[in-house]
Symmetry: C2
Subunit: 181 residues, 2 copies
């Protein structure tokens, strides 16, 4: 640390110094103390400036990251617009295919940003990542298996961005219940 | 600032102090100096910790802002998926309408985040916000008017997120040229 205080070796008072030497000693110490105090004030000012600047920089950075995601989203929106504009002129199958491609691009965009969705039908219900909307009864599936995904869930690594809303198999139900809401 | 150094009033040396008093003075000053140095070291350590923490917080904040945008985008993706899933079963007009709604939601999402697109056909070409892909010739429009938008432009306030790619009217062209790329 380059601002750290270093006592000059000469300022240490001799045990039997005269009053004059001791007074000179005191003057030197007062000078050191003033310097040290000045250093401290400057560091405190630097610290305050840093706090202010880093707050602004943090805001700018967050805005830039969001904007760069939006810039990547724009071509997907363009494609959806183009598909819609051409939709009336083309055959429905081609339109359907165009929209399907848009959806795929959207999922690829999320993927590039680490956000993914899993296929969970038939897999065990996981309360940390799934939200049970209702119970179903399907003897062909294991108990507590996900029977249906009502709303897709998304994760970024271990973090749940949005839990999946699901229908869960409950083999203890006496009568088979209908899936769904 | 609560860490600012305050010299105790008693430490100012008297002009005709004895050696003993002066030595005591020096001891007091040395003690003050040590305290001041300690204060400074602690502030420097706080500063370092703050820098480290604020870098982490800034990253976390940027990630959270992007994620909250993505969370708002997910329902739009859901709707596109639903429209596609139902598309084959419904009549093409209804499917077209469903996709149109998805596009509208997407534009509303951008709007909520301050990102907007203008209708610029017929308006004067603005090189700060538009990129001229080619010239056209339309005597019914003013010179340098935007004749066609090949790719929509987006802005956030005064900031250009993406320039619009356009065909510009050029009445100095001797022969009418076809619009488009």
């Amino acid at each position: 640390m380059n601002t750290e205080y270093q006592s000059p070796p000469s300022t240490k008072p001799e045990p039997d110094a005269t009053g004059g030497t001791a007074a000179a000693e005191s003057d030197a110490l007062l000078k050191d103390l003033a310097e040290q105090k000045d250093l401290h004030l400057r560091l405190a000012a630097d610290f305050e400036n840093f706090k202010k600047r880093s707050r602004q920089e943090s805001e700018a950075r967050a805005a830039a990251q969001k904007e760069s995601f939006i810039v990547e989203l724009l071509p997907v929106i363009d494609n959806l617009e183009r598909a819609l504009a051409a939709g009336a002129l083309r055959d429905p199958a081609q339109f359907h295919q165009g929209v399907e491609m848009t959806l795929k691009q959207m999922q690829q965009l999320l993927h590039r940003h680490g956000v993914e969705s899993e296929e969970i039908v038939g897999k065990p219900f996981d309360p940390r990542r799934h939200e049970a909307l209702s119970q179903g009864h399907d003897p062909a599936q294991p108990d507590q298996a996900v029977l249906e995904v009502v709303q897709r869930g998304y994760q970024r690594g271990a973090r749940v961005v949005r839990p999946a809303k699901v229908v869960v198999n409950d083999l203890t139900l006496s009568k088979p219940a209908r899936h769904g809401r």
